[in-house]
Symmetry: C2
Subunit: 206 residues, 2 copies
């Protein structure tokens, strides 16, 4: 097997973007059962052999959609307070889950059927929570919360209610939930609720 | 259409139990795609027309499995402290999600594909959280937490991290998580994190 010749600049990247956009749109509009290499290729306006060669199957496409979402140069907002930063984060999460169509909730649904999607999502969340640890570090530097606060436990406590209510309990969307979950977690953190867990493994802030 | 004649005492109930046990076992072992009226009837040792007549389709079977789980005379444990009660609750949840096979996590997975299952689960959770409000009422009576604590918000904050880590993030099971999430939420509640939300709609304790 020979390496494919390099394409003219940008062609491959453009193809990838078209294909991944088509996967997201197909998934959100028609669901997992309708997702095939052919439906994606047609929607993307890309030759089906191009899609087969690069992504092999639906699992490969899903894994790459999730990887591409994780590639984005995303950073949590810096609002000047822990409660504010966590509220901004929760509002982003709630918005992404309530978008119509919502690619985020479509991917979560698919993760219960595709091992590739489940593994891809797990990696993406791991990256996102790692990127969010700066929010906790800033709060420690400001003296808002104890220095031995377990960043990951705090971030999961703050965000889990939003996912839980929308994705599992399926309660009607509550516009106040992002702020309430954030404020409650910030108060708990100040009270020392996330101190000194054995899970504090991140290096100390330099 | 005539009403079916009453069966000899207990026959109908026995059939239902056999059928619902078979649904749970099929679902947990072979998944949703393998679930059919025929596979359930065969496993239950019940005639397929009996299953068709009573449950009509797979959606009807799933809704009844969930309804039966909600029928159980379940009560949250009374350990004498809010942190203890919430830990016991979280340990039950974690155990049910990690059981092999886990009917709870199979039903959650199915809820992303079957509207009946999604609605049934939403009702079951609503019932369970309502049953758990006594935990918060007891803590208020003991003077552990403020009287205007929003019971539902507290219960969701306590339990959401367990569901989030196991069902969505799919992080490796952490035996300390039930207790940590419970203790953190109890501390937050004492600090007033769940006070006086507009969502406090339950009647005052008499």
């Amino acid at each position: 097997m020979s390496e494919p010749k390099p394409r003219p600049g940008g062609r491959t990247a453009r193809n990838r973007e078209q294909v991944l956009t088509a996967v997201s749109a197909e998934l959100a509009e028609n669901g997992y059962d309708a997702l095939t290499i052919d439906s994606v290729a047609e929607r993307a306006g890309v030759h089906r052999t191009t899609v087969y060669r690069r992504w092999r199957n639906v699992g490969g496409l899903l894994a790459d959609v999730i990887a591409a979402a994780g590639d984005l140069d995303w950073q949590p907002r810096d609002t000047g307070s822990l409660a504010g930063d966590l509220t901004a984060l929760n509002e982003e999460i709630q918005e992404s889950l309530l978008a119509e169509p919502s690619i985020a909730s479509a991917l979560i649904a698919v993760s219960f059927r595709s091992t590739e999607a489940a593994q891809g999502l797990a990696r993406m969340w791991e990256d996102r929570y790692a990127q969010c640890e700066i929010v906790v570090e800033r709060a420690v530097e400001r003296g808002e919360i104890p220095a031995d606060t377990d960043a990951r436990a705090l971030l999961i406590a703050a965000t889990a209610p939003v996912y839980h209510c929308l994705m599992l309990l399926r309660t009607p969307p509550d516009p106040g939930l992002p702020e309430r979950a954030a404020a409650g977690t910030a108060l708990a953190a100040r009270a020392g609720a996330f101190r000194g867990s054995p899970h504090t493994t991140r290096p100390s802030v330099s």
